[in-house]
Symmetry: C2
Subunit: 272 residues, 2 copies
Amino acid sequence: MPSQFAKKFIVGPGKAVSLAKIDPRDDSAFKGKDQAKAQTQKDAEAIDALQDKLYAEGKHSLLVVLQGIDCSGKDGTVRAVFNTCGPIGVEVTPFKVPSPEERAHDYLWRVHEACPEKGIIGIFNRSHYEDVLVVKVRKLAKPDVIERRYEEINQFEKMLSDNGTRILKFMLHISKAEQAERLKERVTDPAKQWKFNPSDLEDRKLWNDYMAAYETALRRCSTAHAPWYVIPADRNWARNAAISRIVREALEELAPKYPPPDGWDPKTVVVK
Amino acid sequence: MPSQFAKKFIVGPGKAVSLAKIDPRDDSAFKGKDQAKAQTQKDAEAIDALQDKLYAEGKHSLLVVLQGIDCSGKDGTVRAVFNTCGPIGVEVTPFKVPSPEERAHDYLWRVHEACPEKGIIGIFNRSHYEDVLVVKVRKLAKPDVIERRYEEINQFEKMLSDNGTRILKFMLHISKAEQAERLKERVTDPAKQWKFNPSDLEDRKLWNDYMAAYETALRRCSTAHAPWYVIPADRNWARNAAISRIVREALEELAPKYPPPDGWDPKTVVVK
């Protein structure tokens, strides 16, 4: 069950979402920047401890889906929430333009292959949702094919969930003005230019179409077993604090435990 | 070229190694614990910055092989050296008992599949060296098959190196007494019991055989393109400081750079 905190961000199953009505600078869930940052660090440490138990127990996996328009802060989220865990037992998969082999399969094939095994936290930087976002906006598939996908995705995620994967999906919600600032930084900062692609500007022109596609995906694919959360993301610290808390709570609900000795008795084992 | 620092730990190509003559508590490379810890943290931060460039540039990959007897500190090394980087662009692969599918292939097949692509740091927790260590000590393959492997491994690593992968191999060298302490902790600490397997005690009885197998692997498979380093590992802080510095130096030698704009001109791009 989502907590009172998580409910501030969750999209109720079947509920219509108007992104225009959600302020990307909203930080009302927090008592200021310093406190939010301190809480994020504590939550990251709690996630680290919980992840060790998740790994040791090997009963569940956690799948964190990060979606958002260019510059919405997906990489920064991973660093803030998961660097304390480190790379052991945490797998990040960035989904880029599909390869010829990936395109020769159905759109969920590469996603399924990247799903975390039991004990592992899997993080998707973009995901199968691109197949109802960029593919829809750029008209890369026929409307009836895309229409079919929402339910296919729900069924796929239900199957994952029924087989031990806890799924959390975060839409990082930034304003068009904030994206402009961040894109300008990418264009001018030599350490960030590699992240910029002129096609990002084409996508920016299609902003409203993307928002509409997001709203449809959020409405049709937020389910009890795989909820969507809309995270105001103009302020990095508020974004990190929201996601770290929701991830922590989900892990606490899974309540992983160190397994007891398997087939041996601590009382009789002697290390010589 | 290995630095003066790295030379303290490196195994010269073809050189015989006597592990009994290397003190697992040796910390002469450092000026005390506090300074070593501070240096490790600085090196981890430098590795983080270099890894971002490695990823951006996408020209090379780094493969870090961690080998050592049970409790030698492989996981702890990853945390100390690579948690600052976090999970983006860093892949940890633990090699366990081979699955039926893996066993149906040659022993390098699963290893090859796990090798890091360009831009990525791959960390092997155990590796193909198990095929000349546990396989040799436990007599899981015929002597002539094992004998062939040293050269096969050298050829395989040469091919990886020639194709853009920098390889660093670390043998975490702990004393038998230190292993006893750590095994006892695993037996008694409920948070660590899941890491203990009674077969670890069988391996412990074969300590001398393992050391002999390591000495052969170190002598025959330390090459200019894929050197072995023997790291005194009874003291975690000395182990971390040695490895973080050698990894940092290897990345500095690769000297990854942020790539310039590809097919666009920062002067003419306008973000509207």
